[in-house]
């Protein structure tokens, strides 16, 4: 984190000194967004795109899917601070069940950010559309071994698509591949996923990314489902990590809570860093997330 903040100060300083490369309207804030914030947001999209079923972790993926023709809409509000940068990210995700074992997933993240320049005291605010994520989820294994018990394995594949919004996009089309495993038994559920993004942007900031998540859900209530108890409250604990091939490594611990009804889910989480070895992108101090999912 220290090295990133030092880099930001250096950028600001160079701007004040009239560095030709940074002295135009594109400036340090745009440079920041193109090479650092865009990557941070890419992580957010990866983390949330496919995780939109009912009993699902909040920041990780799940191997459950909507039924044939089923639609799930998920609206998130995520806030994070990273040094002098504060941002609201508002990803909207729509899932469509093409078949019971094949789901199409599209995520479009809006970004509202505020960047403070400690050298000038100036604060800039802007907003835009970060890169879209299109994923397909294909179930390759299913073992329903009890009324509420299941084990499933799904493959994920898709593309991070440039939004074209200058300052918010990586300006590249990046393939994504991976898999997710879910085990639900009684009041417990366990999810694990591994995703790889081939970053076609090039350069040190455009390194390939490996994202990994592990999540545990415990049904706090009810102790036992019935025909009259069709809502549930889950406690969630996740580890959300990302390793970039340029050496950057970041790991969050993410406690959360999720209230699930038949039609909708409301959930909240806070992500706290427990490992940050970052030289090429911003280190987030924390992330707070709220999410609402509705099933059609």
């Amino acid at each position: 984190m220290r090295s990133t903040k030092a880099a930001l100060r250096s950028i600001a300083l160079r701007r004040r000194e009239g560095d030709a490369a940074l002295g135009d309207t594109a400036g340090w804030a745009v440079m920041l967004s193109r090479f650092q914030l865009a990557i941070v947001l890419g992580v957010g999209a990866l983390a949330t795109a496919a995780s939109s079923h009912a009993q699902a972790p909040i920041n990780s993926n799940v191997a459950l899917q909507p039924s044939t023709g089923g639609v799930i809409l998920r609206q998130q509000l995520r806030y994070f601070e990273a040094g002098d940068v504060k941002a609201f990210v508002v990803p909207t995700t729509i899932l469509y069940g093409l078949r019971d074992d094949l789901t199409l997933i599209l995520t479009t993240p809006l970004v509202f950010r505020e960047v403070h320049d400690p050298m000038t005291g100036e604060t800039r605010r802007d907003s835009g559309v970060a890169d879209l994520t299109f994923l397909t989820k294909f179930r390759v294994f299913r073992d329903d071994f009890g009324p509420t018990e299941t084990r499933r394995l799904s493959l994920l594949g898709g593309l991070e698509i440039r939004s074209g919004d200058t300052g918010f996009t990586s300006d590249s089309y990046d393939p994504i591949f991976g898999g997710v495993f879910t085990h639900a038994q009684g009041r417990h559920a366990f999810d694990a996923d591994l995703l790889w993004k081939f970053n076609t942007a090039g350069g040190a900031a455009g390194a390939d990314q490996m994202k990994y998540d592990v999540a545990y859900l415990y049904r706090l209530a009810p102790e036992q489902y019935s025909s009259s108890k069709l809502t549930a409250l889950f406690g969630v604990l996740e580890l959300n990590g990302q390793y970039d091939m340029n050496g950057d490594h970041e790991l969050f611990v993410s406690p959360g809570i999720s209230y699930v009804t038949k039609r909708w889910t409301l959930e909240g989480t806070i992500q706290l860093p427990i490992l940050q070895e970052l030289d090429h992108r911003l280190a987030r101090d924390f992330v707070v997330g709220l999410s609402f999912r509705i099933r059609f």
Binding site: S67, D100, G146, P147, T148, D165, S226, V260, F296
Partner: protein, 121 residues
């Protein structure tokens, strides 16, 4: 703010496909499910025959939507009651045109869960 046309086209395409889908078309019924009273304690009431499906893998309340969506699309299914804890799905069927076992089996397949058995004597 400039947005790539390809991105917009893809977003609209997905949204349109999702909105246009209202479930599979009703299947022709064969009426081979016979009458069975509802289980005690169930709120299901019906003039016609009933059936009980035992479904596995319903991991959460949201899974019920998947099952109900597919069963409601079957012609001859009039009412559905799910007991999530036991995986029991009580169905009231049309007296004139009850759904067949195969239709019910197909509906559970499309919902993404495992049908253990159908009780419809």
């Amino acid at each position: 703010m400039r947005i790539a046309p390809a991105s917009i086209a893809m977003a609209l395409g997905i949204a349109l496909a999702a909105c246009q889908t209202t479930g599979p078309p009703p299947m022709r019924t064969t009426g081979d499910v016979t009458a069975q009273p509802s289980a005690a304690g169930q709120t299901i009431t019906a003039q016609g025959p009933t059936a009980v499906l035992w479904v596995k893998g319903l991991a959460c309340p949201g899974c019920i939507v998947n099952v109900e969506r597919q069963l409601k699309a079957v012609e001859g299914v009039e009412h559905i009651e799910v007991d999530l804890g036991s995986g029991r799905v009580d169905i009231a069927l049309s007296a004139e045109n009850p759904a067949s076992r195969q239709q019910l089996r197909d509906a559970i397949d499309k919902s993404g869960f495992t049908l253990d058995r159908i009780e419809a004597p």
